[in-house]
Symmetry: C2
Subunit: 373 residues, 2 copies
C-alpha cells in the first residue's frame, strides 16, 4: 500500500502553476462550499488535543483530526506552535504536516506540508466570514494587529473578496510591522505602520480588523475597548489556547460573535469570555442563514472567532492532494509495512529468509541472566 | 528543513541486517531501560484520543503522543484499528505510522511505519512484564487466545526471555488458530491448537497466557474464571477501548494487576473493572521495585494490563531512526515548506516570480458577485 508524499517543491509547483490568486480563490470556494454543507452527522471533528511544554521554550504540539463518513476519509494535522521560532530559529511559529487516511482500513493515503496550507486556509476562512460580516458598500480600511506570517494570508484572502483600499498595521515588534508592506506588495494596496500611541485613534477608523498575534495566555486583550464604526468586522485569529484572548470582553458583549467551531472556541477562543447564550451561530450556520439575517449581522459590530477548524484542514488537505493527482505530482512510497499475511507481522519481508528457525536459547545476555537460564 | 522518511524497505533492511532475534532483544533492552528510568517530570504522555466510527465498518483512528524534555523530542503515533481488515482487505487490523518531532521548533524529524514496530514493541512490553511476573523455575506452557498478528510477536518476545516448552492456541476463528504454528515456526516450539470445549481444562494447565483478541466492546470476558496455577501470569493485550475487556473480574480481583499506563488502563484496559486501590504499581514502578517484591508478585497470579503505551512508541521510534542513521538508510525530504522569511508564508517559493503584483479586483466570479463589485 503506497502513500502519496508531497514535498515542499510539489506544493510550490501547484502554487506556481495555478497561480496564488487563483489557488486562493479556489480554496475559498472549496471551504465556503464545504462549510455551507457541513453536516454534524457526516463530519466528526473532536476538539483538538495536544502537549504543551515550557522548556526549552514555550511550545505546543497538537493533533487536529477530522473524518467525513460520506467520503470515507479522515485527516490529521499535527501542528507545532513555537512562538520563539522566528526570532531564534528563523522559521515560522506554526509548522505542521497534513495526512489523509482511508477510514475503511486506516491506510495512510497521503502526507504533505501543513505550514503553507494552514496559513492559506486561515486567511481563506477569514475571507469567508468577512464576505458576509464586513461592510462592502464602500472602500474599506483594513487594520492588522500582529504582522507575522498569518497576517500575509489574512490580507491576501480578504483583498480577494472585499474592496480594501488601505491597510493599517500595528505590531509591538516594529521591524515586523515595517516589513509587512513589502511582504504584501503583491496586493498593490498602501500599507501604513502605526505605533502603540496611535492605535486607539486608528482602531476607530477601521472597517475591518484582523488580530493575529502570538501573545502569551493571560496577557490579553491586545487593546482597550474603543469607539468603533457601527459595522466594524473583526477577524480574531490569534486565540488558540486556554486564557489566550485578543479582544476586550466589553467589545465582544456588544458584538455578533461567530465562532468557527463553538466547542473549541469556548475553550480556547474569544468565546472563552462569553456565555453560550451570548454567541451567534457558527460559520457553517452563518453561511446557511437567510440574506436578511446576514445583512443584519453585517450592519452591526461583528467578530469572527477563528480558532482553527480541523474540517478546514480536511478540505485543504484534499484540495492539495487532488491538485497533486491532476498534475501527477508527489512520490508514491510504501511507508506502512504490508505483510503478505495480515496475521503475520514478519510477512512484509520480501526476502523470505527471515525470520528463520533459531535456537530456543535467548541470545541476549541480560534477559538470560534475569531468568536464570 | 528535511524529514527522514523510512520506507517499509528500510525497515526490512534494518531487520535483515540486525536479525530478528537480535533486533527484538535490543528493543526489549531499550524498553526495559527506558521504563526503568521513566520520570513523570521528564516524560509527558497524555492518554490517547481518537475518532471512533461504525461505518462502513467499525474503526478507530487514534493519536498517541509522547514528549521527553531531556532529549527535546516528541513522537506521535497515528494508529488505525480496523478489525475487519484481515478478512475483508487482507491487511492487518492495526496499521500505523510513527513520527518524531523536535520540541524546540516543532519540526518533523522523521516518519516511519508503525505497523511492524507496534507489533514488535507490544510483544517486547509483554516480555518485560513476563520476565518479572511469570514463573521461571520450570519449562513453561504458554497459552495464546487470539491468534492474530499480535500473537506472533507475543510468542517471539516471550520466548526470548523465558523457557517456553509448549504453546497452546485458541481462536474462535479456527483457521487463524491453525495457521499460527507455521507463522511462529521460527521459535521451534511445539504449537497445539485447541477448541472452545477444551479451553477451560487447558487454561488450568498454563504457566503464561497472552490474550490478544479483537473482540467488540461489551462482549468480554473471553472465558469464565478458572482454577489457575497459583503463579500463572497473564498478558492481557487486547483491551484498548472503553468496555473492551478480556479477563473475568473475579480473576482480576485475586491477581496482582500491573498496568502499563494506569490512567489509560482505567479507561480502556482491564483496569476498567477495578478500583484504583485494587491495582498494583505500573510497569515502570515494577521494574524499579525490590527483588523481594518482584519475587512475591511472581509467585502469585499476575496480570499485565497492556493497553499500549505511547512512551514505548517513543522509544521504538528512536530505536528505528537511530538504526536508520547508523545504516545510512531513509530518504531526507523537504516536506514542510521552509520560508526564507519566517514571517512570509510565500517565501518558501524558490522561483521568485510569485506572488507578483496583481490587480486589486478579485478574480473569482462568485466573491465578486457576492460583494457587488
Amino acid at each position: 500500500m503506497k502513500t502519496k508524499l508531497l514535498s515542499a517543491s510539489d506544493i510550490e509547483t501547484i502554487l506556481t502553476n495555478v497561480g496564488p490568486n487563483e489557488l486562493l480563490d479556489q480554496l475559498i470556494d472549496s471551504l465556503r462550499t464545504g462549510f455551507a454543507s457541513f453536516e454534524p452527522q457526516n463530519v466528526q471533528v473532536p476538539t483538538r488535543s495536544g502537549i504543551y511544554y515550557k522548556s526549552p521554550d514555550i511550545g505546543l504540539i497538537e493533533w487536529m483530526p477530522a473524518t467525513e463518513s460520506d467520503r470515507q476519509l479522515a485527516t490529521s494535522k499535527i501542528v507545532g506552535y513555537h512562538p520563539t521560532n522566528p526570532d531564534k530559529r528563523s522559521i515560522p511559529t506554526i509548522l505542521s504536516t497534513l495526512s489523509s487516511y482511508d477510514t475503511t482500513s486506516g491506510h495512510l493515503r497521503g502526507i504533505l506540508d501543513g505550514t503553507f496550507p494552514t496559513a492559506l486556509r486561515t486567511g481563506a476562512m477569514s475571507a469567508i466570514a468577512s464576505e458576509i460580516l464586513a461592510p462592502r458598500d464602500r472602500p474599506l480600511a483594513l487594520g492588522i494587529i500582529g504582522a507575522g506570517a498569518q497576517s500575509v494570508t489574512q490580507i491576501h484572502a480578504i483583498t480577494r473578496v472585499l474592496p480594501i483600499e488601505q491597510i493599517i498595521v500595528f505590531d509591538k515588534n516594529e521591524s515586523a510591522a515595517k516589513s509587512l508592506e513589502s511582504r504584501v506588495s503583491f496586493v498593490s494596496i498602501p500599507v501604513e505602520t502605526i505605533n502603540e500611541v496611535e492605535l486607539p485613534t486608528y482602531l476607530s477608523s477601521l472597517d475591518i480588523l484582523c488580530t493575529c498575534t502570538s501573545e502569551e495566555p493571560g496577557s490579553g486583550p491586545l487593546f482597550d475597548d474603543f469607539s468603533n464604526k457601527e459595522d466594524l468586522h473583526i477577524n480574531a485569529v490569534g486565540s488558540d489556547f486556554p486564557q489566550k484572548i485578543e479582544i476586550p470582553i466589553s467589545l465582544l458583549k456588544r458584538a455578533h460573535v461567530c465562532p468557527d467551531f463553538l466547542e473549541q472556541a469556548l475553550v480556547e477562543g474569544e468565546c472563552q469570555q462569553l456565555k453560550p447564550s451570548e454567541i451567534a451561530p457558527d460559520v457553517a450556520n452563518l453561511l446557511r442563514s437567510s440574506k436578511s439575517d446576514q445583512t443584519k449581522a453585517r450592519n452591526t459590530l461583528s467578530v469572527f472567532d477563528s480558532t482553527g477548524h480541523a474540517y478546514a484542514d480536511f478540505i485543504t488537505t484534499h484540495f492539495f492532494l487532488n491538485y497533486a493527482e491532476s498534475f501527477c505530482l508527489g512520490t508514491n512510497i510504501e511507508i506502512e509495512t504490508s505483510p503478505t499475511d495480515p496475521l503475520n507481522p514478519y510477512s512484509f519481508l520480501k526476502r523470505p529468509s527471515l525470520p528463520r528457525p533459531v535456537s530456543m536459547k535467548p541470545a541476549a545476555a541480560t534477559p538470560a541472566q534475569n531468568h536464570g537460564l
